[in-house]
Symmetry: C2
Subunit: 247 residues, 2 copies
């Protein structure tokens, strides 16, 4: 059993203590041991500790306070830039990777590396939090981190020593995500049963009340992840992929 | 230190032994503990052990023998289907997730879960191998696994007891993937230095000779991951995203 996996929680409050360089080295090496397509290693990690750059990144992450509070911000990027430069130097067809599949391939590399970094950091007593905002504001992050063509940020992990230990997050029953042999599409009754416990939690009821909604699903669709935002962020992300050479 | 991270290698030869159900349970629970956007859990895992279904999946993975040889095939999918069905039942705007950003969000969930499953499996003595072919042939996998609209396979992990223990895979120097504060674009001399050791490895030289190429980069561009294939797979994957409701 990998105990870090079962003890993972997102940490949103950090002590100001910096992270010893040997621990950072171990986190980055852990990232680099993740599986990568054809061993091409088509990803990169930007390690940001400079307060002025973190200050610039903060609005990209909707000013969530941990971006400035946590000592280290890791931005994981899909990255064919280095690989294509190598191909060009070797008279090999670098243009083979200016396409959507290559973006997805590179994003997979970046995400598997990120999860290794997350778990390795936790094994050293660090707290972590993924920032899903990365794909919403990828264009601005590209400007701030000076990411060249071929490089697209896909997720961000903040790292630091936790000043809170929140409870483990609730999960749906495992049968909500696991299907045997082939996909089992749910009946409405099954959906009701899967979500019952979640909907009845006191924190869920509080979200519904605070947001003046009829139910928890509406908190997601009307407040947290809305059609308007998702539509705008989709257009922006597709534009980023075009600009970075992946469409 | 998470020792599984530093001992990971892709296993391509498996014993026929099946995996005890309590170990499978632990692997799937580990997957479900990974971070997920807004705790929406917008992914799913299809567990395939039926030889006749694995037989159908094999060509989707270019007939790599481990698909039939390994006792378990896990297909990780970006999946807003269940979440949208819940929204519909609650008179919430399920159509908020029929867009590209939502696919990327769901793919991130699926990939973080996959890496947890990989490491947890390894902690129980299992071997694993990711199959990058999943995104190349997603449309066929959708048919075989009966994935409904809203569900797109993004990676596959085969699991089983290893009958080989290959050496750790080589990696580029860490400075090839890690950038401090902002991105450092490489000079040609730096690229030469980063790839020197890899190019001089005896296995690399053998690939070049066997494929009758001038150098290792050309083995990638002309044989392994070609412009022609990447272009065709890109079009196919974009079509899958459209058909599954994400464009």
């Amino acid at each position: 059993m990998v105990k870090e996996i079962f003890e993972h929680r997102s940490i949103r409050k950090y002590k100001p203590d910096s992270i010893p360089s040997e621990i950072m080295q171990s986190v980055l090496e852990a990232a680099s041991r993740a599986a990568t397509t054809g061993n091409m290693q088509v990803y990169s990690i930007v390690v940001t500790t400079d307060p002025s750059i973190k200050e610039q990144l903060a609005p990209c992450h909707f000013n969530q306070p941990m971006v400035k509070q946590a000592p280290v911000v890791l931005t994981f990027c899909a990255d064919f830039n280095r690989f294509m430069q190598w191909c060009s130097l070797r008279n090999a067809d670098a243009g083979a990777y200016n396409n959507f599949l290559s973006f997805v391939t590179a994003a997979i590399d970046a995400l598997l590396a990120a999860q290794n970094a997350c778990l390795e950091a936790e094994s050293h007593g660090l707290g972590t939090c993924y920032l899903g905002t990365t794909t919403y504001t990828a264009g601005k992050i590209i400007d701030i981190l000076k990411l060249p063509k071929g490089v697209v940020p896909v997720t961000t992990l903040v790292l630091g020593y936790p000043s809170e230990i929140p409870p483990l997050t609730d999960r749906l029953p495992l049968r909500a995500v696991v299907h045997y042999e082939t996909y089992h599409d749910f009946t409405d009754e099954e959906i009701e049963a899967l979500y019952r416990e979640k909907e009845n939690r006191s924190d869920s009821r509080q979200f519904v009340a605070e947001n003046n909604k009829q139910n928890l699903a509406q908190v997601f669709t009307d407040i947290r992840y809305t059609r308007k935002d998702n539509t705008a962020f989709s257009a922006a992300l597709l534009e980023v992929l075009k600009n970075q050479g992946y469409m």
